[in-house]
Amino acid sequence: MNFAEQLPVLPIITPLVMAPVTLLLPKGRAPWAWATLASWLTFAACVFLLREVSASSAGFISYHLGDWAPPLGIEYRVDLANALVLLLVSGIASLVFPFAYRSVQLEIDERQSSLFYGALLICMTGLLGVTITGDAFNVFVFLEISSLSTYALIAMGARRDRRALTASFNYLVMGTIGATFFVIGIGLLYQATGTLNMADLHDKLAGNHSRVVDAGFAFIVVGMGLKLAMFPMHLWLPNAYTYAPSAVSAFIAATATKVAVYVLIRFLYSIFGFDFSFMGSAFTFVLLPLGLAGMFVASFVAVFQDDVKRMLAYSSVAQIGYMLLGLSFATVEGLTASLVHVFNHALMKGALFMAVACVVLRAGSHSVEAFAGLARRMPFTTWAFILSGLSLIGVPLTVGFISKWYLLQAAFAAGHWYAGFLIVASSLIALLYVGRIVEVMVLREPAEEGKYAIPARDAPLSMLIPMWIMVAANIYFGVNTELTGEIARRAAEALMMVAGGAP
């Protein structure tokens, strides 16, 4: 058996096999250390995979699961687009796992900590599986693997706030409806074509304009829309992110919706393609307006939140609007912008939620009052928050700027100049809500006594280091766009080629 040949399956197999083992380990540090190791191994596999794909002449690697050849067998098909998302998910995981230890110690019952790490590993497996697979039904299975563990993880926040339970329940109901819609859509496609392999589906769907396919398309877009919290189907998201344990918020905010966006891109571009008659109207009348509406409504709602986590959650809905906007332009530039923003938004939201987790550790709360005068109490955390907040707004030298820059270029190139102005306008709203928190952190006096009094002690190093690596990534990829911009552009070109649009 050749190691390199088996490489594509390693990001899935490694965490999947290692996750149950966490339950057998003695309580304490062991489950955490084991899970961290798993996430690092997975990350390493994903890095190798990206290098391999980037160097391969075909532009993708196809791995036949169990050596059953596609289209009968399940295929893992790694091209640049999903190699980038794989790198992102496993990278965020490899930072969140070491980060989680102290936060979990505080927020999760000691007896449940091994379950927590196991579930988080399974969640990561599911997300990676959704990304890597080349089989449409397999997407559903992995999606549910990650969702089910996410429900459990969010509910674990109940130890601090019982509202986590209802948040998790609502997410479960909405998520299941979304997934079931998705599976109905796949069923309809299967009925029309008799295949489930994505590449094969694309070939078989070419020239197939039956109403069955149209219905399948609608079901898939709505189902994925629920999963990725497309405005106005985002109502499950704010509560889920707010009441989940801090480490879980950081992980799922950075990855879960991004993976769903990726799936939407994959289905729209790689499976349906521009040959499909609904594509144009879906872009113009659904994704574009909903993306724009999400950008504004969610940003606006975010301004009035008293809870920092909830504010960031609403901001996530708004940022998903940018991604939808990018992909709805149906150009290489737009798709590039969308993929770049998937990557960059994960970096900034990851860093922001990590900063909130640090505050929760010391102040015991994530309401705005707890942030008062934070700059004097926890300077490192404050600066991490400010820098990634600037990135969220889109200040030059940060990743946020790169995303907005690509998006603006794409908007003007595609002739949607008004969208360009709206992007800038909604960035100004982002300035409002981030600025509000920064003002509280820097200019207010810290509470000396009462509920929100914080000891003048910064977060432990085990949290600061991963958080600052994330912040550094925010700056690094804001200056050096070779990895993100370049790979995203090549990935977008490949996707457009398959979709049959102008390259």
Partner: protein
């Protein structure tokens, strides 16, 4: 009355649609968390039925092998290599090898049975175990095609399954006529041969893939229900109720104080 037939012929789709809408309605309209889960279940069940509908082939039986035990063990003498090769290729297969399998196998059977000259030999051989083994092998392959046959998905599902079975049936008809020319002494062997041939030829399987898919989806559904009910239990422990409206009031009271309750009651009355 054309439309009536149209509607009636597609009754299973109507069941799917009605169940689906009922389920969704329950999820949205009911405030009780357990009832929501029940609605969700109903909704998912409709999808299971939908998938089964896709996989159904008129006259087809469940995709479970019915032709006796699958005996691939050694001991069928000289024939073994010839039979084993396609048998092992089939599951791996591109469609080509899958389509070939049954034909190749039936050719082989035809060779055995075919022609006047052959009939004597067959009559003599009937009692011998070798031939029975051969037949079993053939059956296994004939059945393997539809079962392992995701290949059938490349053409409309009905086509292939039926075709394989029919092909096999036609090719095998000859031995049936031979049956009558067999001497009394060999009757037992002949009957078992006829039975085997019948079974191999008449079974039409429904498309197995949707069944497999939906088994997976059922597992996912069960897991979702389990998690959902577990959450409902925890909510009941934490709040003392599983009614959505009451939960909301309790949360509001916890956050904004007693006036939230007064407001909620005011809105209700």
């Amino acid at each position: 009355m054309e439309w009536f037939d149209f509607v009636l012929e597609r009754y299973n789709y109507w069941i799917v649609i009605i169940l689906m809408m009922t389920g969704l309605y329950i999820v949205f309209a009911r405030g009780n968390l357990v009832k929501k889960i029940v609605g969700l279940n109903l909704f998912q069940t409709s999808v299971f039925i939908y998938y089964l509908t896709i996989g159904k082939i008129a006259g087809g039986t469940a995709p479970i092998y019915v032709g006796g035990e699958l005996d691939h063990g050694g001991g069928h003498g000289e024939e073994a290599p010839g039979h084993d090769a396609p048998g092992h290729d089939a599951p791996q297969g591109s469609d080509a090898s899958l389509h070939e399998t049954p034909e190749g196998a039936s050719d082989h059977v035809n060779d055995l049975f075919g022609g006047e000259a052959g009939s004597d030999k067959i009559a003599n051989d009937f009692a011998s175990n070798d031939l029975k083994e051969t037949l079993k092998d053939f059956q296994a392959q004939g059945a393997a095609a539809p079962t392992g046959g995701e290949a059938s998905l490349h053409t409309p599902p009905e086509g292939v399954d039926g075709k394989i079975a029919n092909d096999a049936f036609q090719n095998i008809k000859k031995p049936e006529s031979i049956e009558f020319s067999i001497g009394d002494g060999h009757e037992a062997g002949a009957n078992s041969l006829a039975d085997a041939v019948h079974q191999a030829s008449e079974v039409i399987y429904t498309n197995p893939l949707p069944h497999v898919l939906i088994l997976t989806a059922i597992v996912v559904g069960v897991a979702t229900t389990a998690v959902g009910l577990a959450l409902a239990v925890r909510i009941r422990e934490a709040y003392g109720t599983i009614e959505e409206d009451e939960l909301e009031v309790i949360d509001n009271v916890a956050e904004f104080g007693e006036e939230a309750r007064a407001r909620a009651e005011g809105a209700a009355s």
